[in-house]
Each structure stands twice: as C-alpha cells, then as structure tokens.
C-alpha cells in the first residue's frame, strides 16, 4: 500500500520539477530560436516551431548595427569597474574584518545601504556633472558610477571571507615583524581569493546588466549592449530576429557566469542576508 503511493508521490514531484525547469528555461529557448529566424519566419502567424535556422541576424547585428562595438563597450566597463572595486574594496574589507575603530558600525551600514539606492536618484545629477567635466558618453563615467553597487558587493563578500581566516596567522606574522599591509597583501589576500573571485563574478554580472545609467550617461560612443538592444524597439518595423540575436549575445555571458557562481548568486543579491 505504501509503496505505490510513495512512487506516485515521487512521480508528482518529478513532474513538478520538470514544470519548474520548463518555466525557467522556455523563454531562453524562444529567444534563441527567434534569433535564428528570418523576419518573415519571425512574423508567421501562428508562430513557427520548426523552420530552417539562419545566422544572418547575428551577422547583421554584429557587423552592421554596432552591437559588436556595444558588446566591447560593455566588456570594457564591466571589467574595469570590477577590477577597480576589487582594488578599492579588498583593503577596506580587510580593515572591517580585522581592525577595531570608532564608527565601524556606521561605516558598515553606509556601505550596505548602497544596495537600496535606486540608480534613478543618482542618474540626473551625474548626467549634469559629467557634462560639465566632459565625461559624458565615456567609459570612465560608467565605470565610476557602477562602483555604487560593485564596491559594496566586494566589501560585503570579502569582509566575510577575511573573517573566516584565522587571526593566528596575522598574529604570527606580526611577531615576525611584518607590516599590516604586508600581512594583508601576502598572507590574507591570497587566502581570500575565493571571496574575491565570487564578488568579481557578481560585480561583472550586475555591471553587465545595468541599463539606466548606461541609457542616460552613454548615448553614443560608450553605449553598452543593453542600451543598444533597446534602440531596436524604436521605429515602425520591429526586427524581432535581430532583437533576439542581440539579446542572446548579451545574455549568454551572464548566464555562464551565473551558473559558475550559482551557489553565491543569492548571497550577492541579498547582500548577505542569507548565507
């Protein structure tokens, strides 16, 4: 009696899991297949499930529509802001993990609060300032603005990581006469590399995905890929295949990184509310 019931429950569970996977993955399937359709096939009514795939859309967006350039812009911005966040953030994280000083709690709060500030609050003042300074439409403006979310992530995750390194190592090094900087650089930082890697991947993903700053601050030369993708929606004849080809090109790198860091993505999105 119990066995068939249990087997049925197992089947139900299996089906539910398949349904969840299908729900998550189907939009990506549709995105990729649409990107392989010509405009005529994409505008078939009812939508075509079986068709002859073509790579023409990819060819066109990459070489004729400047999507290739915008992808390079995205890479430059995401890599630079991540590197900068790691350079600035790891010493700060080490200090938060190891040193005692007044106002530490408040500083900590302030770093974390940045998670909550909407980019739309900063976008206009930064637009005006960057125009004054001649930084409008440059990679630098975006690289600096993305620090508002990449730096807190690096600081949060690396502080956690530094705390998990035994203090005895630091103490032994002090007895050897090593300076604070030397201890950080040569002993703790190498041991904290897993945290640095995770926070770098998360910074990269979040910078890569950002739209609002990019849309307002970088209209032409420094335009990033998401901002480029939405320009296809303007005009009368919406090129579905091209839009989906661009979307696929944008999404593939983040999905790969997200799968690599899948265990930590939730931690990054919650800024550590959940381990």
């Amino acid at each position: 009696m119990a066995a068939p019931l249990q087997r049925r429950a197992l089947w139900a569970e299996g089906l539910l899991l398949i349904a969840i996977c299908a729900f998550c993955i189907f939009p990506f399937y549709w995105m990729v297949t649409t990107s392989l359709k010509t405009q005529v096939v994409a505008l078939q009514d009812p939508p075509a499930w079986i068709f002859t795939p073509t790579l023409a859309n990819y060819w066109e967006v990459l070489f004729e529509d400047r999507v290739g350039v915008s992808l390079i812009n995205s890479i430059i911005v995401a890599v630079c802001t991540t590197a900068l966040a790691v350079i600035l953030g790891t010493p700060a994280a080490y200090a938060l993990a190891r040193f005692e000083f007044r106002g530490k709690q408040d500083l900590w709060f302030w770093f974390i609060t940045n998670r909550f500030v909407s980019p739309v609050v900063l976008a206009f003042p930064v637009f005006l300032i960057s125009r004054e300074l001649g930084l409008r439409d440059t990679h630098l403006a975006l690289i600096l603005m993305y620090l508002t979310f990449t730096l807190p992530i690096v600081i949060w995750i690396c502080t956690d990581q530094f705390r998990s390194i035994p203090r005895e190592l630091d103490e032994a090094a002090v007895l050897e006469g090593a300076s604070k900087w030397r201890i950080f650089r040569s002993i703790c930082l190498p041991l904290a590399m897993p945290g640095v890697a995770v926070s770098s991947i998360l910074s990269f993903i979040f910078s890569w995905n950002e739209l609002l700053f990019a849309y307002i601050l970088a209209p032409k030369a420094a335009k990033t890929a998401p901002a480029m993708a939405i320009t296809f929606m303007e005009g009368y004849d919406v090129p579905y295949g091209k839009i989906m080809a661009t979307s696929t090109l944008i999404v593939i790198p983040v999905l790969i990184f997200a799968l690599i860091a899948s265990k930590h993505l939730v931690r990054g999105l919650t800024m550590g509310a959940v381990k």
Binding site: W30, M31, F109, V121, A273
Partner: protein, 292 residues
C-alpha cells in the same frame, strides 16, 4: 595586540573605498538635493531660479506621483505574495530528500531568470506576448483562449509586468527560502518527521521559525527592488499604454530625461530615496546588528 592599529593604517586601508563611494554615491546625491531646490529645466536653463521647497510641494501634491507610487505598491502587493507562495512550494520540494540529480538541475535552472539582463526580459516579453506573432497567445489558443492584446491594453500590460516579475523573481525567492530551510538542524527535522505524518505540522512548528529571517529579507529586498524597477517595464512598454505601467522609477526617468525637468525629477527622486532609506534602516535593524 592586533587591536592596536594606528589611525594612519586604518585610514590607508579604508580611505580609498570611502573616498570613492563619497565621490560617486554622496556627491551626486548632494547635487540632486541642491538641484531639487531649483526650478531647473534643461531646455530652459537660462530661467533657472531658486525656489526653495516648491518642487517638493509640487511632488507631494501631484496625483501623477502618487499614482505611480500606487502602481508600484499594487505591483508589490500582487506579485510578491505569489512569488512567496510559489517560492515556498519550490523550496520545500527541493529541500526534500530524493531525486538528487533532478533537483540539482532544477536549482541550476532557477539561477537563470534572476541573472538575466533585466532589459532583455522586457524585450523577450515584447516578442513572446505579441498579439499576433507571440508564442504565449499561440499557447493560450491551444487551450481555447482567444489572443490577448498584452502590450496595447492598460490592464493587460500591467498583468504582463506582473507575470514577468514573477518569472524573474520567484526563483530568487525560492532559493533564498531554500537556503533558509537548510538552516533547520536535520536532527530536529527528522525527529519531528517521526512524531507526526502531517507535513503541515512539521512546516508550521519546525521549519517556519527558521524561515522568518529569510522571509523578512525577501520582503524588504523585494520592496527595494520594486521601487527600483525600471529596465523591464521600460523596455517592454515605456510605461504605457498611457501610464498603465509607469512605476515610480519610470516616472522619474520620464520627468528628468524626457521632459528635461531635472529640478522636479530630483525632488521626486529624493522623496523616493527617503522612503527607501526608511525601509533599508528597517532591514539593517533586522539583519546587520552585529559586526564581529
């Protein structure tokens, strides 16, 4: 011994990060506060003048602002309970032993929606929800439902935003709650399972207490992210049709970027920030009490 660190050393470690965040986070904010006290329109810069708190008064008495806030709250109140219910169900299923390979695969596919570029989600929504060529309407046709004009109709467009919000963030809620479930000590869970056959009792009295922190985290993070929500509705509908999907961040973007009224947009942004900070403080009080 370690505790004795010279002030100069602390400054050297923390200074650069603090300076950077002051430069990109606080300086623009102060500039926004300054601009919010002015009648400042990009197209009429010559007529810029100091108006004190007038912009704030305009915003606080402006029905457009409160309608956008209301829409944002409505979105939150509809989509977050659904995300919580579905997310809890998924988390509980994934937490149960058995079918390990299946569950690992499910967990991996759950990661995909929340990592997806938000702007791309809006584009995908456009393509999949199209009245004539959209696959969603085709599927609805299979079960006998007539094609729905998702993007062109105010109510349907709002529903479409809710659906995609659920698609993108239910996995997030599920994984946060799953992490919460894994904090329940296995001995206690097993002991409870021996005591009673009722899954509900196990959930209510054993698992739920351990889930409270995750639930509060989800609620407050979803609140902050709903207030920030811009990319997806913007790429899908540009806030339309009419102002049906003009959530608060989309409204501020329109006033500042498409009406060039930066003074007013700044005032709106500052008021929204005040609301956000209030909620962030609440959050921090719950979770970041102790450092070390």
């Amino acid at each position: 011994m370690i505790a004795h660190v010279r002030r100069k050393t602390i400054f050297a470690f923390l200074g650069p990060a603090v300076a950077a965040l002051l430069l990109v986070g606080i300086a623009p904010l102060l500039y926004a506060v300054w601009k919010s006290l002015h009648d400042f329109n990009l197209t009429k810069q010559a007529q810029t003048k100091f108006v004190g708190l007038e912009n704030y008064w305009t915003v606080l008495t402006d029905p457009t602002f409160w309608q956008a806030m209301g829409r944002t709250a409505t979105l939150f109140l509809i989509s977050v309970p659904i995300q919580l219910a579905l997310g809890l169900l998924i988390a509980i299923v994934l937490h149960r032993p058995g079918l390990t390979l299946f569950k690992t695969l499910t967990r991996l596919s759950l990661v995909l929606p929340m990592a997806t570029t938000y702007a791309v989600v809006g584009l995908l929504a456009q393509v999949m929800l199209n009245q004539k060529y959209g696959v969603v309407n085709q599927m609805l046709g299979w079960i006998g439902i007539d094609p729905i004009n998702f993007i062109g109709d105010p109510t349907n467009a709002f529903i479409a935003v809710i659906i995609w919000d659920i698609w993108q963030w239910t996995p997030f809620v599920a994984l946060v709650l799953l992490a919460g479930l894994s904090t329940v000590p296995p001995e206690i869970e097993e002991a409870a399972q021996l005591e009673t056959k009722s899954q509900w009792l196990v959930f209510r009295f054993v698992q739920l207490p351990f889930l409270i922190p995750s639930l509060v985290a989800v609620l407050i993070l979803r609140t902050a992210d709903t207030l920030k929500l811009f990319d997806m509705p913007f790429t899908m509908t540009r806030g339309g049709p009419g102002s049906a999907t003009e959530f608060i961040a989309v409204l501020i973007e329109r006033v500042g970027n498409r009406q060039f009224d930066i003074g007013l947009a700044s005032a709106q942004a500052i008021i929204m920030l005040a609301i956000t900070i209030f909620l962030a403080r609440l959050y921090i009080r719950f979770f970041y009490r102790e450092v070390n």
